[in-house]
């Protein structure tokens, strides 16, 4: 009963949506897809902003929509963060926060002060929205969505309208939301790096249909999907900071299957981190040799699949219990005789830390 079940069908000129989702009732679920994939429409159906006749939606045992019953948006216990902050310009920041708070009839599970602290907006409370930066506005709109104590938080590309610096400013707050509140989050995005960093569960949508849904690491390493991720194909490892090398400013992270060296990010020993390894940064070698690439792992080829370019192949490699993807040329595959079952040295050129 602790899950989110959603079934929506919409038929519009030039667009058909047909999804049947069974999502975990906790953690952050990312709806990933290109524009036109229907991800925002799914989110709007969940919020009741879009009406999908005949759809069904059950959230943690409560029916929000079925064939006979349809809760209007204002009666659904949701929080919704739009792509643009959409603050009410006629109200101050505090007025915006209180707008939903004083209309909420549910038991307040998140206190207003908690929402304010969580998003670090104490200094902004008296200001008018037009006196805020883009990043500040989006933080206020997140606090506003939390202040109604939602039992489901829906976020529609909350970072897409922001530049890179503002994005970096907000990401840590999103992680705090995910980690500190017992609140399921559905997060719509077309940015693979955001998804890799934030998601626990990943749903990939294409042309109004679901082509994959599962835990992040499993979904990312599926070979039939990276094609849709293009240059962003890669996997995510759960790792722990285990050694610091002050002489070379490096740090070691351990995962199930080996360890990787990366730049020292100033993290304490024992810190859990997500490490993202892109397929284009992974290569294979028959013999370990002298190389500028210092991360060398022993792995076994699991499967091969065609990439979106005819000259390239995606190779899935098992390293311990972890999975890596490598993007190789067809010629390299032929020369090295890369095929399932064979063992190779796996060289990892660079990794991205998702703290």
């Amino acid at each position: 009963m602790d899950r989110i079940r959603a079934r929506f069908q919409l038929y519009r000129p030039g667009f058909t949506l047909d999804v049947d989702l069974d999502l975990p009732g906790r953690g952050l679920t990312a709806l990933f897809g290109h524009s036109g994939s229907g991800k925002t429409t799914v989110l709007r159906c969940m919020a009741g902003l879009e009406r999908a006749p005949g759809g069904r939606l059950m959230v943690r045992g409560q029916t929000w929509q079925n064939s006979t019953h349809w809760l209007p948006t204002h009666q659904r216990p949701i929080g919704y963060v739009f792509q643009e902050a959409s603050l009410f310009a006629h109200l101050s920041v505090m007025g915006n926060l209180r707008y939903g708070l004083k209309r909420n009839r549910e038991a307040p599970r998140i206190r207003l002060e908690q929402a304010i602290t969580l998003l670090g907006i104490e200094p902004l409370l008296e200001r008018k929205p037009d006196r805020l930066s883009g990043g500040e506005r989006q933080r206020v709109s997140m606090a506003r969505a939390l202040a109604v104590s939602p039992s489901l938080l829906l976020m529609d590309e909350p970072l897409a309208a922001l530049d890179l610096a503002r994005k970096q400013e907000i990401l840590p707050y999103l992680e705090r939301l995910r980690d500190e509140l017992d609140l399921p989050i559905i997060y719509v995005s077309h940015a693979a790096d955001e998804v890799a960093r934030l998601a626990d569960h990943l749903v990939v949508l294409e042309q109004g249909g679901v082509i994959a849904s599962g835990p992040l690491a499993d979904t990312l390493s599926r070979l039939d999907l990276p094609i849709h991720l293009g240059e962003d194909a890669g996997t995510v490892l759960q790792a722990t900071v285990s050694e610091l090398d002050p002489q070379w400013h490096l740090m070691r992270v351990d995962f199930d299957g080996g360890h990787l060296w990366t730049r020292d990010h100033g993290l304490p020993l024992g810190q859990r981190v997500r490490v993202r390894v892109l397929a284009r940064d992974v290569s294979l070698a028959e013999h370990p040799g002298t190389s500028s690439i210092q991360n060398l792992l022993r792995g076994q080829i699991d499967a091969l699949a065609a990439d979106d370019h005819p000259g390239l192949t995606l190779v899935r490699v098992r390293v311990g219990t972890a999975t890596l993807l490598a993007r190789l040329t067809q010629r390299a595959v032929a020369t090295l005789q890369v095929k399932p079952g064979r063992e190779f040295w796996v060289q990892v050129k660079s990794v991205a830390l998702l703290p």
């Binding site: 919020a47 009741g48 902003l49 209007p72 948006t73 204002h74 009666q75 949701i78 929080g79 919704y80 739009f82 643009e84 902050a85 959409s86 603050l87 009410f88 310009a89 006629h90 707008y99 939903g100 209309r103 909420n104 009839r105 929205p129 037009d130 506005r137 506003r144 969505a145 109604v148």
Partner: protein, 225 residues
């Protein structure tokens, strides 16, 4: 200076314009809201009917209203059966006629203001637990305040200035239907040019000042950011 009957005509004019503005705020707002938000195929026809007084000669509008409110017209029969008598040549007949005549001046600025609010703020309000009516009063109205101001001022001044419809429906009864514009006409007919000058100057000044205030102090429309 102004004579007693001039003052009486001015007082009547202000009373008429105030009442008409208030009535149109009440009935024009939902019409404007509907026109701004609907996708119905009736949007075009209704919008055209509301805008008719902009292009119709006031005497044509007054003529039809006179027929409708007269003893054989549908409105006239209704008011008679309700024991209210007949509306033509009464103050309230003037009010009803003016409501029709000034309708577009209330509805059109409001419709524009509501359209510029857009869907998003109302969707945001809904996700923050506001019912549609609640969202209308707590979001759409505050965001459209400049539109309300413009619409009210235009309606008021336009009602002050009406002449043709008044003559058709109200006639020229001192203290009942003789408004300032009719009074000026009377003065001119009687060759009382000095009196006509004074009253005209009052209306000219009034209209200019109102419009000056409207155009000089115009709050920027509020948008959600």
């Amino acid at each position: 200076m102004l004579t007693d009957s001039d003052l009486q005509a001015l007082g009547l004019t202000l009373r008429l314009a105030s009442i008409v503005t208030l009535i149109l705020l009440v009935i024009g707002t939902p019409i404007a809201w509907w026109l701004a938000r609907t996708h119905s195929r009736w949007k075009g026809p209704v919008g055209a009917v509301v805008a008719l007084p902009l292009v119709l000669p006031p005497s044509v509008l007054g003529f039809y209203l006179l027929l409708a409110m007269g003893p054989n017209g549908p409105v006239g029969q209704l008011t008679q059966s309700m024991g209210m008598g007949l509306l033509p040549f009464t103050f309230w007949g003037l009010v009803v006629a003016s409501v029709f005549y000034s309708m577009p001046f209330m509805v059109q600025p409001l419709q524009t203001a509501f359209e510029s609010v857009g869907d998003r703020p109302l969707e945001v309000a809904a996700t923050l637990r506001a019912s549609p009516i609640d969202a209308f009063f707590s979001v759409a109205v505050p965001m459209s305040l400049p539109g309300f101001l413009t619409a009210s001022i235009l309606t008021f001044t336009h009602t002050v200035g009406e002449f043709g419809v008044v003559l058709m429906i109200g006639g020229n009864l001192p203290g009942v239907t003789r408004v300032a514009s009719v009074q000026i006409y009377d003065h001119v007919e009687a060759l009382e040019y000095l009196q006509a000058h004074r009253l005209s100057a009052v209306l000219l000044l009034f209209s200019f000042i109102v419009l000056l205030v409207l155009y000089a102090w115009r709050p920027t429309p509020r948008r959600s950011v």
